[in-house]
């Protein structure tokens, strides 16, 4: 097995009026769980489509398991779950799955066996009811997501690419997805997922790459990235009514560079050289009842906001303010 499942070298992709991906280079170690992070329109989907050979880069090279990405034999080893979900609505679940398996070169009898296993595993087939015989549009949304997930993994791919896999998942399916990702990793498979839910990425990924405006902002292992950004952050939790007084202190730009206010919980990035003790003293003086005051590594979310904010024009920053920390999909 090659060292890198994916090796993207200096890849650029232009569309009519904009450059979707600019001089991108990244390497995904074989057997890792890799997060491709970035705001909407950052070039994640274009990158994924190039990895899958749906579109070709204008320049640069992409190698998958050491082979050029347009090698027709590669597709059998890749599994892809697109961001927007959908299947042939009028088709029977079992037939859809068999079709998807056949496209990946799985033989008919083999496919039937695997479909049964998966349907049972995700409880779409129980002694009472076999949803495999139903049509897609008779299924609930959650069940359709499961079917699509099965379709992605039916041919037992070595590299699984999940584009925004957590969007729209209910907590139970999100948990099932996480369990499966972990299991895939244990079996030596490589999993890439793109997301803007930093919380999920932080917990699941071995390595991440943050891209914005088609360019790489940073990449590396999650621990490495966090260490690089040092222990300059403070986690603060308060009790009672002191929040307004604290908010005033956090606006002091000589002390605080940025603060993420979640009402009773704050993640605070200090100005370089600022003394955290000064901050603690002032908060206590303000009368707030402090529950927690801890020097922490910054969360991926903070790093993301900080890094992405540095690379974009101010008018774009506002548009990205909605980037979620990932409150959904905790399971």
């Amino acid at each position: 097995m090659t060292e890198y499942a994916i090796d993207i070298a200096n890849v650029t992709k232009r569309f009519a009026d904009h450059t979707a991906v600019r001089d991108l280079a990244l390497r995904v170690p074989t057997g890792s769980v890799y997060g491709l992070l970035g705001p909407n329109g950052a070039g994640k989907t274009t990158t994924i489509r190039m990895i899958l050979n749906i579109i070709a880069p204008d320049s640069g090279k992409i190698h998958i398991f050491g082979r050029p990405s347009n090698d027709p034999h590669l597709t059998q080893r890749l599994g892809y779950l697109p961001e927007e979900r959908g299947l042939y609505r009028k088709m029977q679940v079992r037939r859809v799955l068999k079709f998807l398996a056949e496209l990946k070169g799985v033989r008919g009898s083999d496919a039937d066996k695997r479909i049964d296993e998966w349907l049972e595993r995700l409880s779409l087939k129980t002694p009472e009811k076999d949803w495999g015989l139903a049509k897609i549009d008779e299924l609930s949304r959650g069940m359709q997501q499961k079917v699509q997930f099965i379709g992605t993994l039916l041919h037992d791919p070595d590299l699984v690419i999940l584009d925004e896999p957590f969007s729209g998942l209910d907590p139970i399916n999100a948990q099932a997805l996480k369990d499966t990702v972990i299991e895939l990793k244990h079996r030596g498979k490589t999993v890439i997922f793109s997301t803007h839910l930093m919380d999920n990425a932080e917990r699941l990924c071995d390595s991440v790459c943050i891209i914005a405006r088609g360019e790489k902002v940073l990449d590396g292992t999650v621990t490495g990235v966090k260490e690089e950004h040092g222990l300059r952050n403070v986690a603060l939790a308060i009790e009672g009514d002191g929040a307004s007084g604290v908010a005033d202190i956090l606006r002091d730009t000589s002390l605080v560079r940025r603060a993420d206010d979640s009402n009773r919980f704050f993640e605070i990035e200090l100005v370089p050289g600022a003394d955290p003790q000064v901050l603690l003293r002032r908060i206590i003086e303000s009368g707030a009842s402090v529950q927690r005051f801890e020097m922490i590594q910054p969360s991926l979310h903070q790093i993301f906001l900080q890094k992405v904010a540095n690379t974009v024009r101010p008018e774009e920053r506002a548009a990205w303010a909605h980037v979620e920390e990932g409150m959904s999909g905790h399971g």
């Binding site: 009519a16 899958l52 892809y80 037939r95 496209l103 070169g105």
Partner: protein
Amino acid sequence: MAKLWAIIKREYLERVRSKWFLIATFFGPIFFSAIIIVPAWLASRSKATSDVYNTIILDATEAGFGQRLAVAIAGDSANRSRMPVVRVVSPAELTKAESTATREVMRKERTGYVVVNQQTMAGEAARYAGANATSMADMAQIKNAIRETILATRLQQVGLDSRKMKEITFIPLDFSTERITERGRAGSGMASVLFGFAIGFLLYMSIVVYGQTIMSGVLEEKTTRVAEVVMSSVPTDTLLAGKVLGVGAVGLTQQVIWIGLTYVMLKLRTPIMAKLGAPTMNFSLPDISLAAAILFLLFFLLGFIFYSSLYAAVGSSVNSESEARQAASPLMIMIVSTGVFIQPVLLNPTGTLAKVLSLIPISSPIIMPIRMAVTGVPPLELAGSLILLAIGCLAALWLASRIYRVGLLMYGKRPTMKEMAKWVSYAR
């Protein structure tokens, strides 16, 4: 190859399994043959309108003509209920009798009345007045009955008995027509025009119906994003080819079943018509050689590939059914304008219009088979038409595959023609 097969299989099986396919395929020929049989049956029925029997005969001949006419109208002297009422009147009383009869018709007690007199006996004139005076079938029957009665009376006068008279006047003439072509006799002339029309109509409908089937199939894959999953497994050209071939095979299956069933229905037509009591028409099927049948299918297949690949391109470039209908209108215009020419071509299958239309790939898949059905087409023209159509197909496929692979991944605004032209130039 296995992947192409998987796509063809899915397109084919999913469509053949659908209820609509079964309904259209098996009820289509029944419907078509009903179109042939029912009007003939109705026409034969309309001759026997009961209105004719509910009339009054005002007999001013003073020679018993009215009674004989009543029997002639009833068609059978034993059937008293079908016999019109006969009123023997003197010529002087006729006006009064007529006004009485008129009032009866106005009160809807009777349908109408026939006046027969000396002039009628002489074969010069007879009159009818009634509510059904506009019914051609009724009037024809009464008129025939009068003629028959006059003829019978005259023959009797020269001393012929009624049995002999029937023998002489019974002439069941069967007038059949047959066309002669370079290859010799080629079935009835009427049948060959009907056949040409049927072929043209069938090809026209199939291209419209299955072209749009492909379009909505592509659109479904795009809107549900299945296309992305499939595109990550197979090249777009394979996907497009699989769709066109799969749906084309569905169309071919339907046509073979249609042609087979129609053949059986036409064979059964005469017995069915006889059962219904309608007069039978001698109807010989055109003699179609195997080579011609293969050429028909070839034209269908090529025409289908030409239009369906363009329909697929349209389906990939839009985001909703309503957009698709709009965007497909140029294609629809191409097909419909061909349809408009079916009749002129049938009327003059060797004219310049027919020749030109059977060479242009837009219209040749429909027009050339029609010409082949109704007239002999020189082999050179056939070859030219096929070659041009094949080139047209390649061009359409090339254009379609380029629009298709870009369009499937483009969401949002519907592209302009200029943008689509740009897509064609994209590398990939």
